[in-house]
């Protein structure tokens, strides 16, 4: 219930904020259509405060909430755009799945799918490599000493900023599209998994390791029966970070190459002033991120329960 209240408050603030954000464009539009606006000259309006304009033209509140090229579209406009670019586009659009048999390249379902594919491929590759490297680091002192400092330093570097370069370079050696974006996603999900997994594999304390030694367990037994199970909670904690990071990587990776994907939709929207399109793509990305994190959390709960953890 408090969550609903907060969400309602945020929506209310949003609707109110729409008024001053859009008022100038709306006034210009209304004047062109011949309506009376309060400061009649454009120069006066340019210098006037936005709130003053809102209170001077209270009858234009409705148009502000349905402005075509809004600086800040109202929530219902975004919801409309979302509906239009998913359901309506696919069922009635010329290129939609109903008429042409394949997903329309103007629908968010298609673009979301492109991003999701790159995210998942990169996430799986990055996490698998990260987990393997973590095992190497835990079992080999030389690897630990030489690799761990770099793994930690690399976390402090804004790696996402490299994405356009990686895309262009991979493109020039013949790898394009999915693979290049997945490479960035993999890179971003790699280090959180390494760091978390190393911590997890080291989490059994000396007493537990000693117990295994009294059982004369060999290295592989102590790995499969103690270290790996002990690392699972840590692994899932970092997988949640990693999956969100790989989605960001895939989206940023789509910026330089305009070949579909949510990142491409956002950049296209910002070029052509289509704010609703940006917001719809952003909302799709948000839903996808929440869904992915929820999915990892669900697998985590199932795995921990199967391993005998009590909720």
């Amino acid at each position: 219930m408090p969550i609903l209240t907060i969400v309602a408050v945020i929506l209310a603030i949003w609707y109110i904020a729409v008024l001053p954000m859009n008022i100038k464009e709306v006034l210009t539009q209304a004047e062109r259509e011949g309506a009376e606006v309060v400061p009649p000259s454009a120069i006066e309006r340019r210098d006037a405060g936005r709130w003053g304009l809102v209170f001077g033209n209270l009858d234009l509140i409705g148009p502000s909430w349905s402005s075509e090229r809004a600086r800040l579209p109202a929530p219902h406009q975004i919801a409309g755009e979302l509906w239009k670019s998913t359901w309506v586009e696919e069922t009635t659009g010329r290129r939609g799945i109903v008429r042409s048999g394949s997903l329309s390249n103007r629908s968010l379902v298609y673009h979301g799918g492109v991003t999701l594919g790159a995210t998942l491929l990169g996430f799986v590759i990055g996490s698998a490599l990260g987990a393997l490297l973590a095992v190497g680091i835990v079992y080999n002192r030389a690897m630990d000493l030489s690799l761990m400092p770099w793994a930690i330093i690399s976390q402090t570097i804004p790696i996402v900023a490299l994405a356009p370069m990686i895309i262009v370079v991979l493109y020039s050696v013949g790898l394009s599209g999915l693979v290049a974006k997945a490479a960035i996603s993999a890179y971003l999900s790699f280090f959180p998994v390494v760091v978390g997994m190393v911590k997890g594999l080291r989490s059994p304390d000396a007493m537990q390791m000693d117990l295994l030694r009294t059982y004369s367990a060999n290295a592989s037994q102590s790995f499969w029966k103690l270290r790996l199970p002990a690392s699972v909670p840590y692994l899932f904690a970092s997988l949640k970070i990693a999956v969100a990071a790989s989605l960001v990587g895939a989206i940023v990776g789509e910026l330089p190459v305009q070949r579909g994907g949510l990142g491409a939709r956002m950049l296209g929207g910002s070029y052509y002033g289509q704010t609703e399109q940006i917001w719809a793509a952003l909302l799709t990305a948000a839903v996808m991120a929440a869904g992915l994190v929820w999915l990892v959390g669900w697998i985590e709960r199932r795995t921990l329960r199967a391993m005998g953890a009590r909720p």
Binding site: I6, M21, L72, A142, S146, W150, T156, V169, S270, G273
Partner: protein, 316 residues
């Protein structure tokens, strides 16, 4: 080689491998021109000797710091010298991967440009947004902590937002605040806010009932408890959040420039240099970003060590 280490002892083995490693590194660099296969062979040999060196150092009980410092440097040397040697030996075109020497040359030749970019993106965009975002998150966290309603309502929303690809708000904020650094700072504020909020709230809750009872027996007011007990107790969480969001701030400031910027700034430079296929310049920008990120992180670590000396993770 392991047998060699065991035969002569760790110290002598380490002292043998170190010069050997350096000689082979020098040979790899010199032989890099021309013969491709040999260069790769030398680099492989260098990696192997480096491996043995670190392995020997790891067992050197009298000087535990030797391994800690030499090992990452050795790996870095293998990567950079290997990169240089292989790129030169195989004649990799510099539009795919420029050698490190060329990157260093470009870096030092373009110092004034890169410094201007650094000031624009890091100092004006990232740092101002970072400070503002952290301060806002701090104020909000105190409110959330004070009022249970906000905690139950705002915290799940904050947790949800912290996992979102907030970079996506960059095009919108650039549209609102214009192309200059203000829009970059706005992106950074939004990106930094939620991770900080979640961390500070978690930190403020991290006092035991016994400690709070003690404050009550002193008849301490809410503000006294906050200032003398709960804020200090929250500091480890605060620093955790500060470190996470330091990287986020740099990412936000740079990525926001991809959506529009004045003709200065690290993100602008990456985009413009990519258009000219001047990859050595792109790599120089990356060096600047990496240095800035590491410096900020190092500064936060030092501050953390100074302020939270009492925490178990800081004790030696």
């Amino acid at each position: 080689m392991r047998r060699f280490t065991e035969a002569v002892g760790v110290t002598i083995a380490a002292l043998t491998f170190l010069p050997l490693f350096m000689v082979i590194a020098a040979i790899a660099l010199v032989r890099a021109e021309g013969d491709g296969a040999y260069a790769i062979l030398w680099v492989a040999l260098m990696a192997y000797i480096g491996w043995q060196l670190v392995d020997a150092l790891a067992g050197w009980a009298e000087a535990p710091f030797a391994a800690r410092f030499v090992a990452p440097i050795a790996l870095g040397a293998v990567v950079i010298i290997g990169w240089e040697a292989i790129v030169r030996a195989l004649d990799v075109p510099s539009v795919i991967l420029p050698p490190p020497s060329q990157i260093i040359a470009t870096f030092s030749a373009n110092m004034p440009t890169l410094w201007a970019d650094f000031v624009q993106t890091i100092l004006k965009g990232a740092l101002s947004g970072y400070v503002l975002g952290c301060a806002l998150a701090f104020g909000m966290a105190v409110l959330v902590d004070r009022y249970d309603f906000l905690r139950r309502g705002l915290l799940p929303v904050g947790n949800f937002m912290a996992a979102l690809p907030i970079v996506g708000t960059a095009p919108i904020l650039v549209m609102w605040f214009g192309f200059d650094w203000q829009s970059k700072a706005a992106v950074v504020v939004v990106m930094v806010f939620f991770p900080m909020l979640v961390n500070i709230v978690a930190g403020l809750a991290d006092t035991s009932a016994m400690q709070r009872d003690l404050m009550r027996t002193y008849s301490a007011s809410y503000w006294q408890t906050l200032m003398t007990l709960r804020l200090p107790a929250a500091l480890p969480f605060v620093f955790n959040g500060l470190k996470v969001s330091a990287t986020l701030a740099l990412i936000g400031a740079i990525v926001a420039e991809f959506f529009g910027s004045p003709t200065v700034g690290l993100g602008f430079r990456i985009n413009a240099s990519l258009g000219q296929l001047a990859l050595d310049m792109v790599w120089s920008v990356i060096v600047v970003a990496a240095l800035a990120g590491s410096l900020l992180y190092g500064f936060l670590t030092m501050l953390e060590r100074w302020l939270t000396f009492w925490h178990p993770s800081q004790r030696r």
